[in-house]
């Protein structure tokens, strides 16, 4: 009979609570590492959903030749990557002579021609990243050291430093566009006389535009570095400085032996954040000059998206891979030095 074959409600509850008890015991018996991984599981699931899946999907798309609207996507394997690295994809990269420096359509050796080198999407991105992150770190460090001091009006100085960072990218781009535009620019002529930027066609000259965009980025983002570094500076135990001062250490010795070593992990993280951001540069280029003139990797992804989605996906995946390598290197360095 049905009543005899089905467990009653009390039995079901007992079994449920029994399973819960077993699960709880298993969790209690987990080692510290296992427990840590268990707590991290939701994060892994979230990352897998919002980061890993799109990345894998991008890789899948990069294996197809898909000219938008013209028939079905055709599976081409790694052809998009091959054409990217051999220069065959050049025709799909508006404004970019090449993807890589050294692979030129017209057979010219690009290293003797600055604009030729700078038409390479990879070179533009790397040069921009290296120069901007270097100066942002340097200036941000300086600003953080100033802000770390106790002086009258520190709040005002802090606000002044943060203001550029608060300005939206498009507004910032417009400011620099107007500063260097032939009709409105007041800086072009002066800088052109010094030979720093091109006399005419300034915002259509790759080297000049890249310089202006890099300066614009340094102006805006040094504050971000300053804030991160300041947080690190303020976490240093002030007692160390008191002891060093009693021991007769000079200001330079205090900086070299206390401040710098202790701020290094924070600096590493700050540089990592900024490097990742810098490698994705797009908005500032689009608002100050154009992707045709300054073809960064992200520019090329956007520019090819509406005509060659397979190639666009390959470019996006390569960009992500380069950023991934940078992240891994920094994390490995920090791991080696015991900071994480």
């Amino acid at each position: 009979m049905a009543a005899e074959t089905q467990p009653d409600a009390t039995t079901r509850e007992s079994r449920k609570s029994g399973a819960l008890v077993t699960l709880t015991r298993r969790i209690e018996n987990l080692g510290e590492t296992g427990f840590a991984y268990l707590l991290l599981t939701p994060v892994f699931v979230l990352l897998g959903t919002v980061a890993l899946y799109p990345l894998l999907r991008t890789f899948e798309l990069s294996l197809y030749q898909n000219l938008v609207g013209l028939g079905e996507a055709e599976f081409v394997g790694i052809e998009n990557y091959v054409s990217l690295f051999t220069g065959d994809a050049n025709r799909w990269l508006p404004g970019s002579t090449t993807f890589l420096p050294g692979v030129s359509v017209n057979g010219t050796f690009p290293f003797v021609h600055l604009n030729g080198l700078l038409r390479s999407a990879l070179a533009v991105t790397l040069i921009f990243t290296l120069v901007s992150v270097f100066f942002e770190t340097l200036i941000g460090f300086g600003q953080a050291l100033v802000l770390d001091q106790d002086f009258r009006g520190r709040g005002w100085v802090r606000a002044a430093i943060i203001i550029p960072w608060a300005i939206p990218i498009v507004i910032q781009g417009m400011i620099f566009f107007l500063m260097f535009h032939p009709q409105t620019g007041f800086l072009t002529e002066i800088l052109a006389q010094w030979g720093i930027v091109a006399q005419t066609n300034t915002l259509n000259d790759t080297a000049s535009s890249l310089l202006i965009i890099t300066v614009g980025d340094i102006w805006k983002t040094s504050a971000f570095m300053a804030l991160l570094i300041l947080a690190g500076l303020q976490s240093i135990d002030r007692g160390l400085y008191d002891v060093a001062e009693v021991a007769g250490a000079t200001r330079w010795q205090r900086f070299k032996l206390i401040t710098f070593p202790l701020i290094l992990p924070t600096l590493g993280i700050a540089i990592l954040f900024r490097t990742i951001q810098a490698m994705r540069i797009y908005g500032l280029i689009d608002s100050v000059s154009s992707c045709t003139v300054v073809p960064s990797l992200s520019c090329m992804v956007v520019e090819t998206f509406n005509t060659q989605r397979g190639l666009s996906a390959a470019l996006a995946f390569v960009t992500a891979a380069i950023i991934g390598v940078v992240v891994m290197v920094v994390i490995y360095q920090q791991y080696k030095s015991g900071d994480i």
Binding site: G95, F177, H181, T200, S289, T307
Partner: protein, 480 residues
């Protein structure tokens, strides 16, 4: 790039841009529906429309159609104010098989790609023979061609309004050089050669002592490829792809002809206008009449010196006439127009269908969504648009030029706004238009074309070198 205009750039003034930004915001909040079947009356014909015009004249426009026998309700659905974004949205809508909007306004520069992709309805199968014949006989041929399938000649879009650039000049400055009304009357319809025109410009510039002789658009943007360079090259008898017949393909089977002498010379001429010390200058052409700044100018930036009275000649779309010749600007008495100059007559052009005065082509067509569930009502709107009453009504309401040359001679058109004073010149431009060579690869080609043309006029490379490089790049893109 700030200030840069999209595609034909023909109807965007700063004022309109601000309006458009507001309108597009309103569009998003109203509809949330660029993807289709939401909002609005379920019986209305939904029309993908210009956001600024929808905002400003939407009610009057609906009334215009109602007055001309359209019984169906019309819902104007504003698209993105940036034409490239609007095109992409429409492409996605049609690819997804959405049934709304039922009809779209489409830039003449997009229609061929939509035809090639099989995304829009064939009007040759929807309209009557007599209606098709009217389009064949009464409309600007060059403009209508951009709405036809290149292989079959079938009509896929009904021309709604065209746009043709003309050479505009400051009459007050010309008077200072001794020219008068009888000259202006001749100039209005009889094109000059570039040589005559450049000497005239230099003469007036000197007499009036103004900073700029000629202002135009030559930035690295699509407007240079589709329009300014296309005009100059064509007026020299050159062409991107071997002449008019190959404008719309077939891609890969047509010749690339940018490294021909006529095209090279057209760029040498433009560089001559800029650089008084140009080693390779064309003899007999005035130099130093054009600022090097043109290589960073688009429509509005090049219009500014003209509006300030600081230039003699200015190449732009009719919207610039409306702004510069307005009562509170230079005024009709001080503002003149002439057809674009030319270097060789049509009979001597090296590439078929080119030569003579040449104006680029802007303007919009109406196309039908093949998935529309209100096809009959949508065709009713399209048929009403073919009437003279609606064409002239659109001109009066919003300054959209009629698509039929005959209407340019009507008293009603001549009395319409500031632009009504300049229809003789605009009509000549319309009869001598050169469309952009739109195919599915044009967006890639236009970028490299603009870049190459810009570099020559900026003096960064020689015309020969730039055109040889461009030849290779275009051939590569053709062989995709």
């Amino acid at each position: 790039m700030p200030g840069k205009q999209s595609d034909n750039g023909s109807r965007v003034s700063r004022r309109n841009f601000v309006k458009a930004a507001g309108a597009s915001g309103a569009a998003v909040s109203m509809a949330g529906c660029i993807y289709g079947n939401s909002g609005g009356s379920s019986d209305a014909v939904v029309w993908g429309f210009d956001p600024t015009a929808a905002d400003e004249i939407g009610d009057d426009l609906k009334q215009l159609y109602a007055d001309n026998g359209v019984e169906a309700d019309i819902e104007l659905r504003p698209g993105d104010s940036e034409t490239g974004a609007r095109r992409d949205n429409y492409q996605r809508l049609l690819e997804a098989g959405e049934s709304e909007p039922d009809i779209f306004m489409m830039d003449n520069g997009w229609v061929n790609v939509f035809i090639q992709q099989g995304l829009i309805a064939n009007l040759s199968e929807e309209l009557d023979e007599s209606e098709l014949q009217t389009v064949e006989d009464d409309y600007f041929t060059g403009f209508t061609d951009t709405a036809r399938a290149p292989s079959s000649g079938d009509l896929y879009g009904l021309p709604m309004y065209p746009d043709f650039p003309v050479m505009q000049y400051n009459k007050a400055h010309a008077r200072e050089a001794g020219y008068g009304e009888s000259d202006f009357e001749t100039w209005a319809t009889e094109p000059k050669t570039w040589q005559e025109w450049s000497q005239l410009t230099a003469e007036i510039q000197e007499a009036a002592d103004v900073e700029y002789g000629f202002t135009t658009q030559w930035d690295i943007y699509v407007g240079t490829a589709c329009c300014t360079f296309n005009e100059v090259m064509s007026s020299w008898g050159g062409a991107y792809f071997g002449g008019r017949d190959n404008l719309f393909g077939p891609v890969g089977e047509r010749p690339v002809t940018v490294n021909e002498q006529e095209t090279i010379d057209s760029l040498r001429m433009m560089r001559t206008f800029v650089d008084e010390d140009y080693d390779n200058a064309l003899e007999g052409y005035a130099s130093g009449i054009m600022p090097s700044d043109v290589t960073q100018w688009v429509e509005e930036s090049s219009r500014a010196p003209m509006a300030e009275g600081n230039a003699v000649m200015h190449r732009n779309w009719p919207y610039a006439i409306g702004n510069n010749a307005a009562e509170d600007a230079l005024g009709v008495d001080n503002y003149g127009t002439m057809p674009m100059p030319y270097a060789v007559p049509e009979s001597e052009a090296a590439q078929p269908g080119t030569g003579g005065t040449t104006s680029a082509l802007g303007g919009w067509h109406i196309v039908l969504n093949p998935n529309s569930e209100r096809k009959e009502e949508a065709l009713e709107v399209i048929r009403a648009t073919m009437t003279d009453e609606v064409s002239l009504g659109l001109f009066e309401l919003w300054g959209w030029l009629p698509p039929k040359p005959e209407l340019f001679s009507s008293d009603r058109a001549a009395e319409t706004g500031v632009v009504g004073n300049y229809l003789d010149t605009i009509r000549v431009a319309g009869e001598n238009t050169m469309p952009r060579p739109v195919t599915e690869v044009w967006s890639n080609q236009s970028t490299v074309i603009a870049e190459a043309a810009n570099e020559v006029v900026a003096g960064e490379t020689s015309a020969e070198q730039a055109m040889n490089d461009l030849q290779s790049s275009l051939e590569e893109i053709e062989q995709q």
